[in-house]
Each structure stands twice: as structure tokens, then as C-alpha cells.
Subunit: 229 residues, 2 copies
């Protein structure tokens, strides 16, 4: 069985859990607090970041996109319709562009700040914990809108975010947006196409474990686990 | 011919130029200032980031690692000894981990800050230009050492940074470190193995165009273009 070091409030960890679910891989989950810089964990990944997947032979595969490529090469490539990557290089580049959009750009503009200020700081204690920074929360909230608008545009012009098939792009987007939705930061009324797409994502069996995620001291928005929201 | 939108002070742009050089691709270079958010450029890449490669059919391929994967699929995979990726999935994951280390971690800890504060701000004018932030420079300088130490450790335990062959990991590392070296931020005396590795990188024909890079108002350190430094 594979082992994943993760935390529910990191989008790249959620993406990897979705991918493992789509490929039907049973995985042992270990919740890791990257800010505590645990010695045994740093021996696996000197960068101290999550996610880390212990693959065959307990070989550590490090980072969300690196794990996604690894799973594509060792699982996806042998699937036909369930593969989360395209066959064609230009389409693959489009999937990777969007994975980067959600795991790097939206993460840096929005998700990382809201997750840290609203949910993680109380857990961090002496390792960076302090009072929430209301300026950072305000700045991040101002950026939520443009990312939902872009997602809405993608969802209204394509079947799935990167094209005709479910791909890593959908998983990365749903991973980040589900953290914002947990925190009640998404006003779905304004984004009908995105809402329809997110509702399809939420109904997938791979999504179920994410909907039961709970972070200590931070209850989810009331509609978080509702398939009909 | 391919076209690359780039700027000499962005590590991911330098990595792509090195890769194109290694694969012998003649490329038209267009210097782009991402902070000016040029309308025609945003139409190619709504994220507004560089590098962007116009590939076959003028299809925009967006982002350093995305371009690296595209070049591997369309060029590298057909080369034998000159391929910049490994064949084996575990070795590929190690190359990708290190590309991420240099283009994301070192970039965020060090390179982005020193490049912005010391070189880019004067060019930015009304789009984010202001006086250099000496606190940011100090914090970034304090992090240079750990990245050179890690590079030195890799270089002293392996032939090339990710293993027995030149790979994207070497290109990403040399891309970031060459920006720091241009700015005179590397004290090579303390890192003999890294210096020997960097000297081999500098001697490659693909590196020559980088050594003649000049940024307006920021002359390079005196040894920057010396093969014997």
C-alpha cells in the first residue's frame, strides 16, 4: 500500500488524494504539520514540504505535480478512459498550465493566505502561530473573485476545465476551491457554470473523503458536504 | 522557428533557454516585462507570467516546467544520450523534485527577492517600482548559504545534480545560481564541489548566450562571464 504525508488544508495534497482515488489506489494517510519541521520527515524531504508519497519500495516522491506525473507514468498511462492526462503534447501542456494556475497562482493569490490566517495559525503555536493578519485576509478575499470568474469561464466553454475529459486540471481546481468552500469563502450564486462543474466533481466517489475532512477548531461552512448546494 | 517570451532575470526563463540550447533549437527571443501586463501578452497567457514558448502552430506553452515537459516529449524523447530527463519514473521524479527545488524553493527564498530589489525595481517604474527594501535583501542573503550548501552536497555525491547524467535539474540549478552570480551574491570559496559543477555548466555551448546577458543599469560581477572564476 502507498503512504501519503498530507494536510487537509493544502491544495496540492487534496489534488493527490483525488488522483489516488480516481486511480483506485488504497493509500495510508499520515497528517503532517510541515511547520513543525519534524526530523524524520525532513529526512524524507529536505525541503520540508507536503505532499510526499511513499511509492513502491518506500521511495519518497515529493510535491503535488511531481506525484501527479509519477502516477500518470505508473498508473494513468495504462488506463484508457480513466487517464487524468491527455495523450497529445499540446493538450498535456494545457492540463499542466491549469494545474499550475490552481496550485501556484490561485494558491499564492488566495488559498494559502486564507488557509493560514483562518485555519492554520491556531495550530502552529510556537512555529509561526500569531494573531490572524486581517490585511492578508482582505487582500486574499479581493482575489477570490477573479479566480472563480476564470473557472466559470473555463467551465462554460469546455466540458471539463482543460477540454473534453476529466483531467488533473479539474482535480487541482477542485482541490483549491474545496478549501475555500470549507472556509465559506465562495459565493456560488455568481458563478453558475463553475457551480455546476463543482457539483459534478463533488459527486465523484474520489471526492467523498475530502468532504469528511475536519480541521480542529475550524468547522466547515454549512453547505460544504452537501451535494446539492 | 520557435519564439520565447522571457526576461534574463527570471530563473525559469534561463532554464528554458538552456534546454533549447541543449536540444539545438534556434529560437527567437522576445524580452517581456511581465509587470507591465501588456495586453497582447495577456492574450497569450492570462496569468501574465513568463516564460511563454510559441511552439509549432504558434501554440503558447506556458511556464518553465510545462515547457520543459513539452520539450522532453517533442524533442528529448527522440534523443538518446542528450535527453534531459531520465527514462525511469523514480529517476524522473528526482529530476522534477530538484527542478522544483531551484525554480520554486530557491526562487522564493532567495532569487526572486534579490533580482527584484537589486535589478528589476528600477525598470518597473509605475508598475511596482520603489526604493529597494533592505530588509528583503538581508533576509534573502541569509538564505543563499543553505541553497549553495545543498548544491555543494549534491555535486559532491553525484556526477550531475540528479544522478549520472546531465538533466533538467542541472539546468534549473544553473539558471537560478547564474542570476545570483551575476549579482555577485555567491562566494564560491566555500563551495568547491558546487564550483566545479558550475564551471562545467558554464563551459557548455548552451550557456554562452546567458553569459552575455546584460540588464540595463546593473553591470554583472566581474567574474560573471569568466570560465575560470
Amino acid at each position: 500500500m502507498l503512504t501519503l504525508f498530507h494536510h487537509p488544508f493544502y491544495a496540492s495534497c487534496r489534488m493527490v488524494r483525488l488522483a489516488l482515488g480516481e486511480y483506485g489506489e488504497e493509500t495510508a494517510l499520515i497528517e503532517e504539520y510541515p511547520w513543525s519541521r519534524r526530523k524524520e520527515f525532513l529526512a524524507l524531504n529536505p525541503a520540508g514540504t507536503i505532499p510526499v508519497l511513499l511509492a513502491e519500495g518506500d521511495h519518497p516522491i515529493i510535491g503535488g505535480t511531481v506525484i501527479a506525473e509519477y502516477l500518470d507514468e505508473t498508473r494513468g498511462a495504462f488506463q484508457r478512459t480513466k487517464r487524468l492526462m491527455a495523450e497529445n503534447s499540446i493538450e498535456r501542456a494545457e492540463i499542466r498550465r491549469l494545474v499550475d494556475w490552481y496550485l501556484v497562482k490561485m494558491e499564492g493569490d488566495v488559498t494559502r493566505h486564507l488557509a493560514r490566517e483562518r485555519a492554520l495559525k491556531p495550530l502552529m503555536g510556537g512555529n509561526g502561530g500569531s494573531a490572524p493578519d486581517s490585511g492578508a485576509i482582505r487582500a486574499a478575499r479581493a482575489n477570490v473573485r477573479q479566480h472563480l470568474k476564470y473557472t466559470n469561464w473555463l467551465a462554460s466553454t469546455r466540458d471539463w476545465l482543460a477540454g473534453q475529459r476529466l483531467s488533473y486540471a479539474d482535480l487541482a481546481a477542485a482541490a483549491g476551491i474545496s478549501i475555500l468552500d470549507y472556509l465559506g469563502e465562495v459565493d456560488w450564486r455568481d458563478y453558475e457554470a463553475a457551480r455546476d462543474w463543482y457539483s459534478r466533481m463533488k459527486s465523484r466517489p474520489s471526492f467523498r473523503p475530502l468532504l469528511s475532512d475536519r480541521v480542529r477548531g475550524v468547522p466547515p461552512a454549512s453547505h460544504y458536504a452537501d451535494l446539492d448546494f
